[in-house]
Symmetry: C2
Subunit: 249 residues, 2 copies
């Protein structure tokens, strides 16, 4: 009735999902009223559906009365084949990379025009980073992002280059300069950043291939790359090649 493109969004299942997706990284716990507002579902209806979701274990209630995503969804999420082969294969190599460098190690893929972090290994002596597993960040401000962008289809590159939003004062926001970096990334086989996502953090990243295609990126975050860039690059390349070989074509 309200100018909808077609029949959609009205079903109970849609509404239940709208309620679940009202949660995000910035709002992992929500009170009923806000849940109703964010999901755009009338309060009493939200109340009933939420009650049902709690009964089923998809949501849980905290001591303070807020709602959070329940264990059931956590369990189910682990069954999702979201690059599970890649994660499974890569995991040991990430560990070894961490053991060899004591730097935070990341495995990431491109999700549209964002980097999606699939796995992360951090030690207590590592440089603090913002990314967690499941985080999505802009492609142009991270090492793994630059690798993935450099090997992305032309239309994706263009879309990203058109909207280079700064994250820190050091973020590269001139399309020409980033384009030159991307060419270098392909030529050199690795990408670097320096304070472009987090001030005081540098990163080095390399592509992971399956046959000829770049399917993921492998990166480390350190406080300074000056000192041992060659060592980091070769460690990353060895690990990336090993993952590629294990993945097969």
């Amino acid at each position: 009735m309200a100018g909808n493109t077609s029949r959609e969004g009205a079903g109970v299942v849609s509404r239940a999902m709208a309620i679940l997706t009202a949660f995000d990284e910035a709002h992992p716990r929500l009170p009923l009223g806000e849940l109703s507002r964010r999901a755009d579902v009338p309060l009493s209806t939200t109340h009933r559906i939420v009650g049902e979701l709690v009964r089923l274990g998809a949501l849980a209630r905290t001591e303070t009365g807020d709602y959070v995503i329940g264990r059931l969804i956590w369990d189910l999420g682990l069954l999702s084949p979201v690059h599970s082969d890649l994660r499974e294969v890569a995991s040991p190599f990430l560990q070894d990379l961490y053991a060899g460098t004591l730097a935070t190690v990341h495995l990431a893929v491109r999700d549209g025009s964002r980097v999606l972090y699939l796995d992360r290994v951090t030690g207590k002596r590592s440089v603090p980073v913002v990314s967690r597993v499941g985080t999505r960040l802009p492609l142009h401000a991270t090492g793994v992002g630059k690798v993935l962008l450099a090997h992305a289809p032309a239309d994706v590159q263009q879309r990203v280059l058109r909207r280079l939003t700064p994250v820190t004062p050091y973020t590269v926001t001139q399309p020409g300069r980033l384009r030159a970096q991307l060419v270098a990334v392909v030529a050199d086989g690795y990408a670097t950043t320096s304070g472009e996502m987090t001030i005081g953090a540098c990163s080095v990243a390399v592509p992971v291939r399956s046959g000829p295609d770049v399917v993921a990126a492998l990166g480390v975050v350190v406080s300074s790359i000056r000192r041992d860039r060659p060592r980091l690059v070769s460690a990353l390349q060895v690990a990336a090649h090993a993952i590629s070989r294990t993945l097969g074509p």
Copy 2:
């Protein structure tokens, strides 16, 4: 009407959840018909709900026409506070433990009368293990399980001791013998297993405390503990204490 405890299970939301929970570790991909059977929802209804779930991203379809859990659920699962503090705090220590031992390292909690694996670090040189993150295994056949069982309430211990199912020929199935082991676990501060879950794999595990309570267990899997049991125990204890200290009371 069929002797139900109360009105339940009939709602669309329940049915959608029944369809989602039809997936498990042994069946991560299912065709429509089996989904309908496992969820106990009529085929045409399953078809419609599944279609909606796919549209919403909660399910996805493989090339072969089977269904799998979608990326949306994976994303949501990561927002669940399932021991997220514990996992977050413990992760770096698991990495260091792996770096120091090159053995598979596990972080686990008790979930009723099972061990629930929260995190795992495996290297490519490590002994192969069955557990993955999210796996639930019997308490009496694993190192972390014995630790958690030894510190569990009496009624849980009794329930478990009554049903000691063998996993391998070496699994401890005599209640008296296990009970003695549990006493030793509390006294010694660590538990061991030897081929009780997987033949050829041994494990050592210690408790992780928050204040006086045992909230988790930390364990390693190796091919033989004879050689360096003291070294493993002390490495585990150092890491467990560090986690406990970081967790606070």
